[in-house]
Amino acid sequence: MRRVLKAVLSASFYIILFSILPSLSLWLLPPEFKSYVLLIKDYTSIDVQFMITVALVVGLILAGLSFAKNMTYEWSIMNLTVALFSEAVGFYISLFLLGLGNPQSMGLINIPINYGEGATATLNLRFIAILDIVIMAVSAAKSVVNFYYARKERPA
């Protein structure tokens, strides 16, 4: 029962963070400001609505993975697979958000602006992307370490 509760709470966290909060924040914006946010798409390549939709889908995937991780035993290969896949999905969404919708940019975002001739903005968040990679690597290492020792200490 306690395991199920933990799994549900953990899954709810991802749903609230990625699926509910972004959509709610856009919905709660004053109408004039909301129209400005949606107008960004006309002047740049940034599509806020698309980013929110992707965050919503990724939030649901992460919630499912988190639920599955908490419902499986730490020594099971399924637990490790789900944990590593969860890290990969989390890494993808952070690169997606850092790249303002373009995860391949790896933190170096070139935004052509439809205003004036050849106007561009460049956002350099490479260092943050590198920190993100390190966090993913350490988190994956932690999952492997937990799995290794759980398997060793697994009751016969």
């Binding site: 001739e117 050849g118 290492a141």
Partner: protein, 152 residues
């Protein structure tokens, strides 16, 4: 053993997340505040030019006041490239300053060119923070007014 290894990795993850939060929030806040603080004073940008009537050489000086309203030091640079009709760079100038939080500095860009040779200008503005690791830059091309400096 498991607990120790797991605890060390958990602590490392927390430290990294906190670092990520600090770096991104302080840098992006300082950069955006500097940008907003400077745009608020865009009317204070001064263009001074002098022309030698005999040689036709024009000295152009652009003074851009930059105000850092952020919480960490930023490195701001402004560059101007004057280009001819065929896209050749006729003259260029740039300036950069490290500006502490709450400080205002004036960047001075000087360019010298022959009258009638300039058809446009590539302007760029760059603001970097946190040991220049995080940055935002803008660049755009503008057509230059030619009334003051007619072709010979």
């Amino acid at each position: 053993m498991k607990r120790k290894a797991s605890k060390i990795l958990s602590a490392a993850i927390i430290v990294l997340y906190v670092s990520l939060l600090i770096v991104s929030s302080t840098s992006l806040f300082s950069i955006s505040s500097t940008l907003v603080g400077s745009l608020e004073r865009v009317e204070d940008v001064r263009f001074d030019s002098t022309m030698n009537p005999l040689t036709g050489v024009v000295d152009l000086a652009v003074r851009v006041p930059i105000r850092n309203r952020g919480i960490i030091e930023v490195n701001v640079s402004v560059a101007v490239k004057l280009v001819s009709a065929d896209g050749t760079v006729v003259a260029e100038g740039s300036d950069s300053r490290r500006i502490g939080p709450g400080e205002t500095e004036e960047l001075l860009v000087v360019a010298t060119f022959l009258r009638g040779t300039v058809d446009g200008a590539d302007l760029s503005f760059e603001c970097r923070a946190f040991f220049d690791l995080v940055g935002l830059s803008f660049s755009m091309r503008v057509e230059t007014p030619t009334e003051g400096y007619p072709s010979p």
